[in-house]
């Protein structure tokens, strides 16, 4: 169980990105985070694994206060939390295999990894992960030779290597077209249903929220303005989150704000 308590983030330049945000995520949930661009979604996700240091508040995961642990302990927590990014964040010039293997860095022998040596089991695990997302044949390609959808699948494979209990996905499909978006989210859904991995995923499209999420929270200017089931997210509530001028339009079969 993940509990976020009174989380606040003030950047050094004075921007208040999160304002006293609290919510709870049960194990096995698929939580969607919605909100306008700049609402604080990325900041929230990054505060959970402390890529961004929160200014105040606590993040408690399975009774461990992530916000209080020391660096070495933090690495051990992070390796159980997979993360997926909008821009995929692959190392473009490294091979797909190296990118996937790098998901194992938190587990592998730190010294051997410095010369790019991984245990044979890790190689097998990486192949399985790539096989699972359907791009095993690309293992030896350079990451930047892949299409956007394929790159995101490498991102998922990298997260799989961590054998995560929780996946943070920051707008994983915002850079992809709607058809690809579904295929990527289906992988996340599969991980959520079959492997029981908790997923926290920021999304932009209302129909994707309805289709995949088991719960939704909405952020507006860093404040939590909605917390409920997708079915409770009516057009009116959606407008509250996205502002009055937001229009729901249908793009490629998906509703967008």
């Amino acid at each position: 169980m993940l509990r976020v308590e009174h989380l606040t983030k003030v950047f050094p330049d004075g921007t208040v990105a999160l304002r006293d945000v609290s919510f709870t995520v049960q194990d096995g949930e698929f939580l969607a985070v919605i909100g306008l661009s700049g609402a604080g979604k990325s900041t929230l996700l990054r505060c959970i694994n402390r890529l961004i240091e929160p200014s105040a508040g606590r993040v408690i995961w399975n009774d461990i206060d992530i916000t209080a642990v020391k660096r070495g302990e933090l690495c051990r927590i992070r390796r159980q939390i997979g993360m997926i990014f909008q821009q995929f964040n692959l190392v473009k010039r490294s091979s797909v295999m190296t990118n996937v293997l790098s998901g194992r860095l938190g587990y592998a022998n730190p010294w051997w990894t410095l010369v790019h040596r991984f245990a044979p089991e890790d190689h097998i695990r990486a192949r399985n992960a790539l096989d699972r997302v359907g791009i095993l044949d690309k293992a030896d390609s350079r990451a930047d030779q892949l299409s956007g959808g394929q790159q995101q699948r490498v991102g998922i494979a990298r997260a799989l290597m961590q054998e995560p209990k929780l996946i943070l996905a920051d707008e994983p499909v915002a850079s992809l077209d709607p058809v690809l978006a579904h295929s990527i989210l289906q992988y996340l859904e599969q991980l959520n249903r079959q492997d029981g991995i908790t997923v926290i995923c920021s999304l932009h499209f209302l129909d994707l929220v309805h289709r995949y999420a088991s719960r939704v929270i909405g952020l507006k200017d860093g404040e939590l303005v909605f917390d409920g089931l997708p079915s409770e997210l009516t057009r009116e509530r959606f407008k509250e989150v996205y502002g009055e001028e937001a229009e729901m339009v249908t793009v490629g079969g998906a509703l967008a704000a």
């Binding site: 050094p12 694994n49 890529l51 690495c75 051990r76 927590i77 992070r78 390796r79 159980q80 939390i81 997979g82 993360m83 990014f85 821009q87 995929f88 964040n89 692959l90 190392v91 473009k92 010039r93 490294s94 190296t98 790098s102 998901g103 194992r104 860095l105 938190g106 587990y107 730190p110 990894t113 410095l114 790019h116 044979p120 190689h123 097998i124 192949r127 991102g155 990298r158 997260a159 290597m161 961590q162 943070l168």
Partner: protein, 857 residues
């Protein structure tokens, strides 16, 4: 799916065996053509290097490389291909070891040579800028060394006011004398100087430091000093019973009034003007010439018919050749043609600029998009309207930025061109270092650094404006609209006229000198192949006077020389004819003197005709006379000597030397780039904004290292070479150090920019997997940096090869040093071979780095 391991079969063993016999053969048989051939080529080249430098120890790593090839074949048969790390390291080991030997690197000299540049380094913090004018009081006194009996009168007088005395009139070397003075400034410091009979001055040393005394209240002093033992060079010491007149001098320089610029400073300021004038005139003229040339070198304009296409290729080829010979090298060539001075420097800058700008402009022309031209033409515009509205707007931005860029280079070049052609600041540096006037030299070096640094700043500003394309502000009022442009125009014109004069441009001599220049140019035609020759001679005896000896009869046929007289007296007219010699050959006709030496009868004599005959009229030389007192019985005579080829053609000595030194030059560039990179990589992190962070300390370190790199970058590599040559001695080692010192700030700046441009996304992603900092560095940062660092290193190597072809002019070794020597010895064919080698080297490096960059990006 783990990698499968196969058992080697019989044919596999054959492959492995063939790898053992010929490196790379196994790989070729396995179908890995490129891998095999590169391995083979590498082994051959490395073996060549080892033999060249006779470093037989290196055959061990070479053998290891060979065995690696065998192992690789075996591994491949088992289906486990191996990475290129091991062979790469082995090859690098061999190349660097050979390189260190070839470039004569002796790290010890960095320490042992330190005393040589200590005064220079000291001087750099104490340049001669301002000083007080002084009122001088100088007293002097002749002294004879050593004492003899009787002592002659000294060859010169002593000063009257102030006045010096000694207790003796003469002294031996190293003897102590007492010197007294009166009539000096009271209570003031006095320097004691010594002048030897040849006229060289030195300060008198006492207890290891220069001797100074302070006068008493009446302006007197008394001091004991030793006659310097090193005053007279060994070959000028007086003979037995002789004495020489020395002079001892006491000097006071009392400052008065306000600070005044030193003569050094005014000279430096003057030369700054000359430097800028040279760069300005060369750039302006180069633009004027390069524009038409660039039209001829533009593919899109010249592609129409075969004739213009031929012109295009010809112009391109000439531009490329001219460009690959460095400006400084052209300066050396022009010095031979028009003599030392600013003019030669201007011509060199001009020629190189025309070639460089011609190429850049033509690329800008080729980049013009035909779309807008078509569109404007479709509106019914005339040809000139098309040019104004469609062509110029596309061409102008690149034109401006290329011109500005060249002006930049020209100022940098003209600060150092004086190192070879007596013009501008570089001339002061080289002149003052020869005179050991280090403080003055430091002033000139600081001036160069300042000029370049200021120029960098100004042109960065201008370039920004050009790139941003600041829209011409609406000009309000007549003053802004007319007066400002008019004033700018007049200022530029005045600058042009002034520069023209400073550069001492002299079109008349240039035009009248063209035939000379062409003749000179033709002598640069490289001599690559020679046939070894042997001197062959025929001679005829000529007894002088008659009866001194019997004349020897000449054979009636075959090569022979006949004289019109069988014996003669000195001064008699004599006709010398040669018969059946090699036709159309230069022969040398000499007097054979009775003592066995010979004298050339006439300079530039003689050429045989198509029958192999020649005829020469002369007078009998007095030295031919046999002197019976000195028991010369051998009669003199006349000899005709010519060279006859033996054996087949072979590479000339110039070619072999050039080949050798080209390799040295390449290795110099390689080692300098390596040294520069090794230092630059760690320090570049201090100049990267994203690494240093926003804290005050971080900002301070960032700003400090940026400033240091920028100033350091302004020290031209040629200046560094002057300094490192006096530090480490002439030779490639000095060149390597100078280049490396120059590379450090340049690479550090480029590297820090690469670091600043690292994509933060992957770093974040790897951190999020729970990786520690070191792992994040290895997996997210290093892979992003490697290709860009490599590209910059390659680029720097490219520049270093160009630089190392000229760094030798001031003692940096390599092909440049040899080129300058050859030119100074009038050995132009050999110099031509050097030029050819440089062109080839620069071209192949351009090609290789272009290919590699293509692969990496």
């Amino acid at each position: 799916m783990a990698p499968t391991t196969k058992r080697p079969s019989n044919s596999s063993w054959l492959n492995v065996l063939s790898s053992l016999l010929v490196p790379g053969l196994g790989q070729v048989l396995q179908g890995e053509r490129t891998r095999g051939i590169s391995l083979f080529a590498t082994v051959i080249v490395l073996a060549g290097l080892i033999i060249w430098q006779s470093l037989s120890v290196l055959f061990i790593p070479l053998a290891a490389l060979w065995l690696w090839g065998v192992w690789d074949t075996l591994q491949r048969e088992r289906g486990r291909p191996s990475g290129p790390t091991a062979p790469f390291l082995l090859a690098a080991l061999i190349v660097y070891a050979a390189g260190i030997k070839a470039t004569e690197i002796v790290p010890r000299r960095i320490i042992t040579g330190w005393p040589n540049i200590q005064p220079i380094v000291h001087a750099l913090v104490r340049p001669e800028l301002l000083k007080h004018p002084t009122e001088d009081r100088i007293g002097y006194l002749p002294l004879q060394v050593p004492c003899i009996e009787p002592l002659p009168e000294p060859g010169e007088n002593a000063s009257q006011e102030p006045r010096l005395h000694t207790n003796v009139r003469c002294a031996g070397m190293g003897e102590t004398i007492i010197l007294e003075g009166e009539g000096f400034f009271p209570e003031f410091e006095t320097e004691i100087w010594w002048r030897n009979p040849i006229g060289d001055w030195q300060k008198v040393i006492k207890d290891g430091i220069p001797l100074t005394v302070v006068t008493d209240a009446e302006g007197r002093f008394q001091v004991s000093l030793q006659v310097p033992t090193t005053a007279v060079p060994l070959d000028r010491l007086p003979g037995p019973g002789e004495t020489q007149t020395h002079r001892v001098e006491a000097r006071q320089h009392k400052p008065y009034g306000s600070l005044q610029p030193t003569q050094t400073l005014s000279l430096v300021l003057n030369k700054i003007g000359e430097t800028i004038a040279l760069a300005f005139i060369a750039t302006v003229l180069a633009v004027i010439f390069a524009l038409p040339v660039s039209l001829l070198a533009s593919r899109n304009l010249m592609w129409g018919n075969p004739a213009s296409r031929a012109v295009y290729y010809a112009v391109r080829a000439v531009l490329n050749i001219v460009r690959s010979v460095e400006t400084l090298m052209w300066a050396i060539i022009f010095v031979v043609w028009v003599g030392q001075g600013p003019y030669a420097g201007t011509l060199a800058l001009l020629l190189h600029s025309i070639a460089a700008l011609g190429k850049l402009y033509s690329e800008a022309i080729e980049g013009i998009d035909p779309g807008p031209i078509e569109a404007i033409r479709a509106t019914g515009a005339t040809w000139s309207q098309v040019v104004v509205y469609a062509v110029l707007p596309q061409f102008m931005p690149s034109f401006l930025s290329f011109t500005l860029y060249r002006w930049d280079i020209n100022v940098r070049m003209s600060t150092v061109i004086g190192l070879v052609c007596d013009a501008g600041l570089g001339f002061l540096v080289i002149q003052w270092i020869r005179l050991s006037r280090y403080n003055a030299m430091a002033t000139a070096i600081i001036a160069i650094v300042l000029v370049v640094a200021i120029l960098d700043y100004v042109s960065a500003f201008l370039r920004q404006r050009v790139i941003e394309g600041v829209p011409s502000v609406r000009r309000r009022g007549w003053f802004r609209r007319y007066a400002v442009p008019a004033m700018v125009t007049i200022a530029l014109l005045a600058l042009f006229v002034w520069s023209w004069q400073v550069a001492q441009i002299d079109i008349a001599t240039f035009v009248t000198g063209i035939p000379d220049g062409l003749r000179l140019a033709s002598r640069f035609f490289p001599e690559l192949i020679t046939r070894p020759t042997e001197e062959v001679s025929v001679s005829a005896a000529l007894p002088v006077p008659c009866g001194a000896a019997e004349p020897t009869p000449q054979p009636p046929s075959g090569p022979r020389v006949n004289l019109s007289l069988s014996c003669a007296s000195p001064g008699d007219p004599l006709v010398i004819t040669g018969h059946e010699l090699p036709p159309n050959t230069r022969v040398s006709v000499r007097w054979l003197l009775p003592d066995g030496r010979y004298l050339r009868i006439q300079k530039d004599c003689c050429d045989t005709d198509s029958m192999g005959n020649f005829r020469l009229e002369t007078k009998v030389h007095p030295l031919l006379e046999v002197n019976p007192q000195e028991e010369q019985i051998q009669p003199g005579g006349v000899a005709v000597v010519w060279k006859q080829a033996i054996g087949g053609p072979r590479p000339s000595e110039a070619l072999t030397t050039t080949f050798n030194l080209s390799l040295v030059t390449l290795l110099m560039a390689l080692i300098a780039t390596t040294l520069g990179s090794v230092v630059a990589i760690p320090v570049s992190f201090f100049a990267a904004r994203n690494v240093m962070g926003r804290s005050i300390v971080g900002q301070a370190i960032y700003n400090f290292s940026r400033t240091v790199f920028n100033l350091w970058r302004s020290i031209e590599p040629m200046i560094l070479a002057v300094i490192s040559a006096s530090w480490l001695g002439f030779g490639p080692f000095a060149g390597v150090v100078a280049l490396a010192l120059n590379n450090i700030p340049n690479l550090a700046k480029l590297f820090s920019e690469a670091i600043e441009e690292i994509d933060a996304g992957p770093v974040e992603a790897i951190t999020a997997t729970g990786a520690n900092r070191l792992q994040t560095l290895v997996y997210a940062v290093v892979p992003q940096l490697i290709p860009r660092f490599l590209a910059y290193i390659l680029y720097q190597w490219d520049i270093n090869i160009r630089m190392s072809t000229v760094i030798g002019y001031v003692g940096g070794g390599g092909i440049g040093q040899q080129f300058r020597t050859w030119v100074e010895l009038d050995m132009y064919e050999a110099a031509g071979a050097a030029v050819l080698a440089i062109v080839v080297m620069v071209w192949s490096m351009d090609y290789i780095s272009g290919r590699v960059r293509e692969k990496m990006v």
